[in-house]
């Protein structure tokens, strides 16, 4: 796979064709603009998702208390200001869906894959700008459908983000399983189409459009993670699509893929011979790789940001790539650990315990390599760096409890309790969010040509960091006490009365943590117009995107695309004046490229 020499770029991407407002800002085919569109749509969805969590956290802390906020926002779903149990489940469901898919998949991977793949590999744009544009607009459409589903008469989908049938299949089982669920499924089907187009584009671009000298082992780790993420997405998302289509068939056309022997509200339904366990298999065949689709790009961003701000090469570049590949491979054969108590054969439980616990090995290698990257560095504490360090911290804390949940014998008793909620929020929710914030602080100058305010960034990080632990650390303990998740209130179980005050503490941390995001939003949106003008390479980084001019142009570089002569981590290399050597600087005479 030789690098691609871009010969025709000059004619194609010259300045002779005029851009209208529509082609520049709306139906843009430029990867940089599409990245920004992904980011802003993802941010809006994120605000909705986080706001929902604030509301149900208030219900959990002060169950069935009237609240003016509920009355104002939820309307008929909060008679006299008391949140109803239907809408509680809907909020939990949509919060999960939005955060996992719309924020941490599209918002994170969509933004940074689009922004960084062409810029870091030295390409004029994505392999197909048109497909890329369609991919964004399908994502936008699916977001719109998801938001519309919040306003339907019988309520939005409320069967949990895993939408297990029969609950999700039968409108008589739950109000939210009517039109709300139909819209949920339609939205996800569109989302998957968007994701596949994006992923295929990323794969093709990385394989074919690398500039001269950019071999696979000179790629920054960001590109490696985006590439592998796209591969996992292409393997697993179609399976979710098939699950969604089969569920639509069961719901609307009377088939029995997932349903059998059901007696509900006084009548027997005709379904015969299907199995909900089949749906669980299909769902988690995507569902588990999905958490790696979320976390891998964050890992890539963090690796890059840590190396840059430590002024050191990332430690163990090859081991990092190997562990990405190992994680990607294992991610597709561990889905059954979500199903230890689903009724599947216990022997399968043994197999999935084995494969699941193996994932701890490449994860441990990554964590140790990041820590070693800091060792004897010259750490530049930019906000991006703080979030990167925070990422490693929450990834470790959250990841370790995976050893308990992945162990089938232990899972029996903590399955579907708050222990699980605490685990996955830390390891893939908060961590991926930190990765995303780190990426935004780091590449904001590249995206908008201006700097984010660092002091607001510091406040944002430290308050968020304290609140994240404040929310999710105590949550492990109420889970170990046996409190099930997705309970509207715990007041019907005196057994759990002594945990009520923990819920109040968690909610207070959550509210503060949610509120502090306003500072970030202010910083983000005001800096687009009023931020300090960015220099070309503010963080003194080695990668190619910082050789492109600050002002965005179609085709990324005026004139020729830079050639690459070294790997992307030549920080503080002995024999050089500066503590960084960009990838486009030829080796000095007698200088050896590191045999990494």
């Amino acid at each position: 796979m030789s690098a691609h020499e871009d010969t025709h770029a000059h004619e194609d991407h010259g300045h002779h064709h005029k851009e209208t407002f529509v082609t520049k800002y709306i139906f843009s085919q430029d990867h940089k603009m599409i990245a920004k569109q992904y980011l802003i749509t993802g941010t809006i969805m994120g605000v909705i998702g986080v706001f929902m969590s604030m509301m149900f956290r208030m219900q959990l802390a002060w169950p069935e208390q009237p609240n003016v906020l509920f009355e104002a926002v939820l309307g008929k779903w909060a008679p006299d200001g008391v949140m109803s149990s239907d809408i509680y489940l809907a909020l939990v469901t949509i919060h999960g869906t939005i955060m996992v898919f719309f924020v941490l998949t599209a918002g994170l991977s969509g933004t940074f894959s689009n922004l960084l793949i062409p810029l870091q590999i030295g390409a004029r744009d994505m392999a197909s700008g048109f497909l890329n544009m369609i991919s964004y607009w399908l994502f936008f459409l699916s977001s719109v459908v998801m938001v519309i589903s919040l306003f339907v008469e019988a309520g939005p989908a409320a069967a949990g983000w895993t939408i297990y049938p029969p609950l999700s299949a039968l409108p008589m089982a739950q109000g939210g399983s009517g039109l709300g669920m139909t819209l949920w499924l339609v939205s996800m089907a569109i989302f998957i189409a968007s994701s596949l187009m994006g992923s295929l584009n990323y794969i093709v671009t990385v394989l074919n459009l690398r500039t001269k000298g950019m071999s696979m082992t000179r790629l920054p780790l960001t590109i490696w993670t985006f590439f592998i993420t796209a591969v996992i997405g292409v393997i697993s998302f179609p399976v979710l699509l098939s699950a969604a289509l089969l569920l639509i068939m069961d719901r609307s056309f009377g088939t029995s893929f997932f349903l059998s022997d059901i007696f509900i509200q006084g009548e027997v339904l005709h379904y015969h011979g299907g199995s909900p366990v089949l749906f669980e298999h299909l769902f988690w065949f995507l569902g588990h790789p999905e958490v790696y689709i979320v976390i891998l790009p964050a890992m890539g961003l963090v690796s890059e940001i840590m190396a840059t701000n430590s002024r050191k090469p990332i430690f163990g570049y090859r081991a990092m790539i190997a562990s990405i590949l190992a994680i990607a491979f294992l991610s597709t054969i561990v889905w059954g650990h979500h199903m230890f108590v689903s009724g599947m054969n216990p022997f399968l439980g043994s197999v999935f315990t084995f494969t699941t616990l193996l994932i701890a090995i490449p994860s441990a290698v990554k964590a140790f390599n990041w820590i070693t990257t800091l060792w004897k560095g010259n750490l530049q504490m930019n906000p991006a760096m703080l979030f990167a360090i925070g990422f490693v911290s929450t990834f470790i804390t959250g990841g370790l409890t995976g050893i308990i949940l992945g162990d089938s014998a232990l899972d029996i008793n903590v399955h579907d309790t708050y222990f699980v909620v605490a685990h996955f929020h830390l390891v893939m929710g908060i961590s991926a969010l930190y990765g995303m914030f780190a990426g935004i602080y780091h590449w904001y100058p590249k995206m908008f040509g201006r700097m984010l305010n660092k002091n607001l960034g510091y406040i944002h990080f430290w308050v968020t960091a304290i609140c994240a632990y404040g929310v999710f650390f105590p949550m492990h303990f109420i889970g170990m006490a046996g409190l099930p998740r997705r309970y509207y209130t715990n007041t019907n179980f005196p057994l759990f009365d002594d945990l009520a005050n923990v819920n109040v503490i968690i909610t207070i941390f959550a509210l503060i943590g949610g509120a502090v995001q306003i500072i970030y939003l202010y910083n983000f949106f005001s800096s687009i117009f009023f931020g300090k003008k960015a220099p070309q390479n503010p963080w003194k980084s080695t990668t190619l995107e910082w050789t492109a001019p600050v002002k965005h142009i179609h085709g990324n570089w005026p004139g020729e695309i830079p050639h690459v002569y070294r790997w992307s981590y030549d920080y503080s290399k002995p024999g050089h004046e500066d503590d960084f050597v960009p990838q486009n600087i030829p080796l000095k005479e007698g200088e050896e490229e590191l045999q990494h």
Binding site: A72, L89, Y164, P166, L167, A173, L259, S260, D261, I262, F263, G273, P276, S310, R311, P313, I314, G316, Y317, R318, V341, G343, P346, G349, T353, F354, L357, V365, I371, T372, L374, W375, G377, Q380, I389, S393, I404, S408, A409, L410, K454, N455, L456, A465, P474, M480, A481, R486, N492, P494, D497, A500, I518, N523, G531, Y569, Y571, S572, P574, H596
Partner: protein, 355 residues
């Protein structure tokens, strides 16, 4: 009105942030590119990193001291319970050690190597020996955990027919539980939701023609004789439910269209459990909270809360709809004699039908 207030508050917040930014900017007017970390920033944030490490340790200690007395780590009431608890404690200790050490290294390095102008980092890209060490150590530790875990899992999930387990069906529906005992013959009658006949009170859809079903006993409370192996067969009539019995370290989903199973042997009667000092302490604590809450309720003119008494419980632990949060059944573990006496009071299936 509330909307207007909210908008005003939001505007004030934004103005406040803007003012803060102005102050920061004025304080740093001289620095060239004010938005990149300076030595001063590195220093402050380096110290904050150490502070944050202490915060993590602090919250860990507080959590363990305040909420670490976990019913799920002790006082299990089934034969296999202690096996799970031991494995859980070993895993927790291991996690605790790794967490403490790695978080220390992470934040300590962040503090120790905070950047200074003119300093140069060490060019240290690779070390096969180090990487081999931290690959092999997790491999060994995990191999141990996997073997221990799988042994436990297999011994829990394997049902030994030689033990002659008592067969009980747990039947789930939105939003309650029903138990069906297999009766003298210890064999459940055939059943299917298509046979449900509400008018004849055949609510579980038991085949009326099946001789095995005639002596089945249907109850709304789950009574278990202590020391006798039980094999639960789970069924659901509508959506997924999960039969979660935390005190017995037991859980299994109830799936419409199929029968799932889970077996365990209860070892501690309800009465014995109530006598345990830890449980008494917990119950007393809960009752204190309930008395406080009752005072508030009475002041508002509502009913006070009942006194809490310890009981084993079966909870639904798979989202099943509107009242998922209140789908429970009381479990009573008692001596064989007490159990037999209770069983005698129950109607058998063939006598419970309405003709």
């Amino acid at each position: 009105m509330t909307a207007l207030l909210t908008i005003i508050v939001l505007v004030f917040i934004l103005v406040a942030i803007w003012q803060m930014v102005k102050i920061f900017d004025l304080a740093q007017a001289k620095v060239e590119n004010a938005q990149v970390a300076t030595d001063k920033d590195n220093k402050i944030n380096g110290y904050l990193m150490m502070g944050f490490l202490l915060f993590i340790y602090g919250i860990t200690i507080v959590s363990f001291v305040k909420w670490g007395d976990l019913p799920l780590l002790s006082n299990s009431a089934s034969e296999h319970g202690p096996q799970i608890d031991n494995l859980m404690i070993i895993s927790l200790v291991l996690i605790f050690i790794v967490q403490t050490v790695t978080q220390f290294l992470l934040y300590y390095f962040a503090y120790k190597y905070k950047g200074e102008k003119g300093k140069k980092a060490l060019f240290f890209a690779d070390n096969n020996k180090l990487e081999a060490i931290w690959t092999i150590i997790p491999v060994i530790v995990l191999a141990g955990l996997i073997i221990y875990g799988l042994n436990t899992w297999i011994s829990i999930m394997g049902v030994n027919q030689d033990d002659d387990p008592m067969v009980i069906e747990l039947y789930a529906q939105q939003f309650n539980w029903t138990a069906r005992y297999a009766g003298e013959d210890n064999t459940l009658g055939k059943s299917n939701v298509r046979l449900i006949d509400i008018d004849r009170a055949n609510v579980l859809g038991i085949d009326e023609a099946d001789p095995y079903g005639q002596d089945d006993v249907i109850t709304k409370e789950l009574h278990l004789p202590v020391g006798r192996p039980i094999l639960f067969k789970m069924r659901s009539q509508d959506v997924l439910h999960s039969a979660y019995m935390p005190h017995f370290r037991a859980q299994m989903n109830c799936v419409p269209g199929m029968i799932t199973q889970f077996g365990f042997t209860p070892t501690v009667t309800t009465a014995e459990m109530r006598q345990r000092p830890e449980i008494q302490e917990k119950v007393a604590h809960i009752n204190e909270i309930r008395v406080e809450k009752s005072k508030e309720l009475v002041a508002k003119g509502e009913q006070p809360l009942d006194r809490y008494e310890f009981n084993y419980l079966l909870l639904c632990n798979k989202i099943c709809g509107k009242s998922h949060y209140n789908m429970q059944m009381k479990i009573v573990v008692e001596s064989q004699e007490e159990f037999d006496a209770w069983m005698k009071e129950q109607k058998v299936f063939k006598n419970s039908l309405i003709n």
